[in-house]
Structure formats: C-alpha cells, structure tokens
Symmetry: C2
Subunit: 360 residues, 2 copies
C-alpha cells in the first residue's frame, strides 16, 4: 500500500526517538512492499523559534492531507525556557491542542500495562503488581474544559477567571463507541469514570454511555467516580480493562496509570478522529534534560508507530511484527537507561533502534 | 472552656464511629474541666428518610450556631440504595455540599501520612515507602466546578450539559494563606497544583498564589501540573509537605494520597471557614457494607475530633493528648479489622474507643 505519513520530531528527545521509529517504519515498508512517503513538519518550541507560533497553518495542512501522523514530543522546561514567557496560545503545548482540535482527534487511546520483564520498576508492592494489569484508557480529547469558553475579567475590581466544561451527547456517544469497540476485542469490560454526584456534564455522560452500552450486550459497563478511580488505580489496577473518561479526568488518570506501570518509556498512545487519520505519540514527554544524548528510550515511539499501522493503515500483521520485536528485545534483556537494571545490557537510543530492526 | 459541638452521625458506620469520638471528647472535657454541649443533627440518607431532604434548614441553623461540627459519614451504596433514585440535589451528598457552602467552609485540610506501624499496608513498594511521607493537602472547598453555574439543555435537539469552573482572586488568596500558614508550622514547602497550561482559572490561581507567597519568605513555593502531581504522588510522595489545590483537583488528589498511605481508616480531615467554625470528619466513607457490625475503625474520627480541638477551640494540649493516645494504641499493637495484620491484637469499634480512653 501507499501511505503519506507526517512526522513531527518536535522538541527535546523528540527528534532522536522519531528517527528510530521512522527506521522501523521503513523496514516494515521494505519487508511488505509498502510505500510510505514521509513529510516532516515543525510543532512546539522548534516551530516557535522558526515561525513565532507553535504550529503554522501550512503545517496543519500537511498533517490533514496525510494518512497518519507520528509525533515525538513538544515543549521544554516550563520553568526556565524562553518558550514560556509568552501568551498561553503561543506556547509549545498550544500546538498540540491546536492539532487535536483542527483534526478532530476526539479519542485518545492510552494503554497502560505492566511488562512482565519490567515489573521490578513498578512502584506498587509485589502483592499488587504480581497479579499484573493491562488496561487501555480511552480519553475524550477535543471537548470539556480544554475547549470550552474561557476568560478572565474584573468584576467590581476583583479578578475572576472562568473555564467552561461542555459536552453534548454526540461528543460523548462517539468516544463511548470507541471504548466499547475496543472492549469487544479485549476483556469486554468498560469502566466509565465521571463525577456524576456533582457535575451535570457527568450525568449526561453517564446516561449517554448507558445508551451506547445497550448496543454491546457482551460488554459489561461499570460507572466509577473519579476520586474513587484515582484510588483504585493504586489499590487494584488489575480490575481495569477499558477505562472511558472525559478530557480532564483522562489527563490526570492516564498519567497516574502510566506511572504505576513504572515504565512510561514503553507506553505509546493514539489520538483518532472519525476518519482513519490519527496522531501517534509516546505517553512520555520531551525530557529536555537528556535531549541530544542518545540515551532516550525509543520504544514508546516505535510502539506508537505500530499503533499507527494498525489504526490508520489497517496493517495488523505489520503491527504484530513490531510488537513481537519489542517483546523479544525485552526478553533478551536489552534495555535503555530509563528501564535498565543490573544484569541487563544497556543500549543507547540508536542501538535500541538497531536491535528492533534486527528482530523485525 | 464552654463549647457547643454539633454531632452529625450520618449514615452507614457514621453513628458507631462518632459515638467513640464523642466519648473521647467527653473524657477530655472531664480531664481539663471543659464543658462541651453536644447537639445531634441529621444529614444524608437518614435525613432523607425522616424529612425528605438531605439537610434541613433547622439542622443548618444548629450547625451555624455551634463552635464546631463533628461528622461521621453520609451516603449509601450508590448503585442499590433508594437514596439515589432521586434528583441530585436530594441525594445524601447534597447535604455535604450544602453545609460546606452555607457555612463557607472554604479550606479543606487533609493530612496523608504513613504511620510507621502501618507501613506494611502501604500499596507502594518498600523502596518508596521506607522513606516515609507526611503531607497535608489543602483543598479549596466552596468554589470551582462544584459551585459554578450548571445546566443541561437541548441545542437543535442535541442534549448539551455545561458546568462552570469559576474562581476569583479573593477565593484563591484566602485558601492560599491557609496553606502557607500551615507550611510555616511544618517543613515550609508549598506545592501548588494547577493546570496552568490549559485553564484560565489555573493561571489566575498561579499568579495569586505567587503574590501570597511573597508574604511568606521562609516558605518555598513550587508549581506542579495536576497530571504530573498524580504521578508524583505514586513515585515520590515524600517530596510533598503542603499541597495546595482547587476543589476538583483536590478531590482527586487527596483521595489518591489517602490511598497510598494504605490506611485511610486513620486519616482525619478538617473543613474551615473564615471564623473558627469548622467541620471535622474522617477521610473515609460511610462503608454501608460493614455498618452496625461494630468493626469499623473509629480512629480517623477520633483524630478528627482532635483536629476540632486544635483548629476550632484552640486547645493544643488536649489535641496532643489524643494524638499521643492514638499513637500508643498503634505502638502497643492494637488494631481494628481494616488495619489488622498477623500478630496484632484485633479490637472492635467500641473496644478501640475504650483503648484510646484508657491511654488518655
Ligand atoms: C501538554 C498538555 C496540554 C497535554 C494535555 O493536558 O492534554 C498533555 O498533558 C497530554 O496529556 O497530552
Ligand atoms: C461526596 C462528594 C460530593 C465529595 C466531594 O467530591 O467533595 C467527597 O468525594 C469528598 O471528597 O468529600
């Protein structure tokens, strides 16, 4: 097949990890006789440096006209970077929010699983981690507090700031369907997280999710309050198969879930829209402190590339190939610094790329 | 001294645990020659059963005219309780939200600490828990998404729900001051949690907190994004001394923090207003499944009573007495079922009350 793939190396370690993922995609193309046409665009700090904005309209057009997008990471050290002394809509992250909105990437899929080989890095005690866990968080990504009206004004000389949490039933329905579809291919359990004892948007969320559930008689639906979900992730992560939630709750809970795996350097993510177009990126950040040192872990980005093949290009066999290669890397005790433990063999970013290519 | 204390036994295990805390307060009164006048009011499910509403105006008046309020817990099993088949403003939790608002209880203090004797129950692995942790979360309690305008309407036949997150600078300033005041008496570090890369309210939050910080040159201030805070609580809870945050983030993070202690049955909380009036309650819920069995842990409620003596009545010596008695109970290996481990001596709710009284 022929496919146009937009690459966004971004900031920090972004360029290094995207480079390795691109090599993996090229190797897959060669093996299966696909033609992948890569185009690079700038987003984040590097775009601010060149164009004064975190994402240009030209860059968005290129992304829109491609079949899939692979992103490294954007942003720098919030405290001490020139990119943050400007209005919020000009900061690196604004590029990310803009591309999500412009491309309608409403469904953010974030797997959080404990790799058996890396269980030692899990911050939870063995009694909890030995049972293992493997969940996918489906986070709504283009609604809620992130994109509602907001303003700061003075009322009688007192500064007041307002953000708005808005959801309509269609926005809820489409992301709920994504969650249920994924659950049918997994352990058939959706836990929908909300704050229905306080929020109107959560009550609408709950009722629409229940409607959608009727079309999936094989899938169990459970509702959980967000405060309880934050506790359950720590106490009993194994109970989660697919967790469905709105944008802000998803931001918080998916990061908590990543962290309890102990190996965020291994976790990919996908952000999908109504068509097949999707944006794929590692769950971790741009790690400016280790940028350019060739020590970052490229596996989350490589696994993001494998999600790209599956969800945007429908290439299941190719996806498994990459997943198997990454598994073999772990089994054979090769590790980048972030997941290194004694007795393992430590590899650089590019050596890790080589190793995956070797196993492909 | 003479003080009027309102008791709200509430639902589930509430009456049992409040009973023990009341005995402790009576014993303190006797020892120090105070006169505590107790008045019971109904709130939550029990009030719904009697009056059709979760909190009557008469009950609020009694609470308002007292010096402090001690609450057990309210609510039942959300899934299968008659109290939940009604409009949200008639459910048990609505009583809690109403009393917070009516009494202006804007500062919710929730300590989360690892008791050395109970470290075995901590869900984190030893490498993390052995360093210990001891934090207070200061959560804004009468603003934000909880009390902003909300509505559900149809726009062109499509159901849309809206909640509003509103903060003005005064609301932020007063709760920030509480956090800094507490930090001066502790390890002198405030971590303020927000989502300033997305929300206007968070940007106002950040700037007001920075202003307040100028009056506390001895206290270090750090800002942390909420998604990162959810991760840091699991990875490195020891870094937190005082965490300051808005209502919804505080709901999620304080529950996560309670859970990583592994002994939520030990954690008290206080909700304060501009005067000395405060509401004190355990951090755990009403646990309807074990209600009436005399096995619930009364220690969080007893420690809530000790916070009451300190914050509302200014009785520091009396507070230490209770804290020391509870510590002695743990040191001498007495445990209720929730924190029981092999080799310890298991006590019922009332036996645990007896034991604290014995050590007072
Ligand atoms: C950078 C930030 C705006 C973004 C978000 O909050 O969505 C990030 O935390 C994420 O989860 O992708
Ligand atoms: C019962 C509920 C409304 C309440 C809240 O969200 O504030 C509870 O979770 C709490 O933290 O006290």
């Amino acid at each position: 097949m022929k496919a146009k793939i937009t690459l966004i190396p971004g900031d920090g370690i972004g360029p290094e990890i995207v480079r390795e993922a691109k090599r993996v995609l090229e190797s897959i193309a060669k093996k299966y006789d696909h033609e992948f046409i890569f185009t690079d665009i700038d987003m984040g700090g590097c775009s601010i440096d060149k164009y004064g904005v975190p994402l240009t309209d030209e860059a968005i057009e290129i992304a829109k006209n491609s079949d899939a997008i692979l992103l490294g990471a954007v942003g720098g050290n919030v405290g001490n970077s020139k990119w943050y002394n400007v209005a919020p809509n000009l900061r690196p992250e604004a590029g990310l929010l803009k591309i999500r909105k412009e491309l309608g990437l409403f469904a953010n899929l974030r797997p959080a699983l404990l790799y058996k080989e890396l269980a030692g890095a899990c911050p939870l005690k063995t009694e909890i981690s030995e049972a293992g866990f493997d969940m996918v968080i489906v986070r709504e990504l283009t609604g809620g507090l992130y994109f509602g009206e907001r303003y700061t004004k003075e009322v009688d000389g007192i500064k007041t700031a307002v953000d708005t949490l808005v959801y309509n039933e269609n926005e809820i329905r489409r992301v709920a369907k994504v969650a249920f579809d994924i659950a049918t291919k997994r352990r058939k359990k959706v836990i929908s997280v909300d704050k229905a004892n306080v929020l109107d948007s959560s009550r609408l969320w709950r009722s629409v999710v229940e409607e959608v559930a009727k079309d999936y008689p094989d899938v169990t639906l459970e509702h959980m309050l967000v405060d309880n979900a934050a506790m359950q992730l720590v106490m009993n992560p194994g109970q989660f198969d697919v967790m469905l939630t709105e944008n802000m709750f998803g931001d918080i809970l998916s990061d908590e879930a990543s962290m309890i795996t102990g190996s965020i350097g291994m976790l990919p993510s996908a952000s999908l829209n109504e068509s097949k177009l999707g944006l794929y990126e590692p769950s971790h950040g741009s790690a400016p402190d280790i940028a350019g040192k060739n020590i970052a872990n490229p596996l989350a980005t490589i696994l993001s590339a494998s999600m790209l093949l599956k969800y945007s290009l429908g290439l299941d066999k190719e996806t498994s190939d990459i997943e198997n290669a990454v598994e073999k890397v772990l089994k054979n005790n090769f590790r980048t610094a972030d997941i290194y433990t004694q007795g393992m063999q430590k590899l650089s970013t590019s050596q890790m790329g080589d190793k995956v290519l070797e196993y492909l």
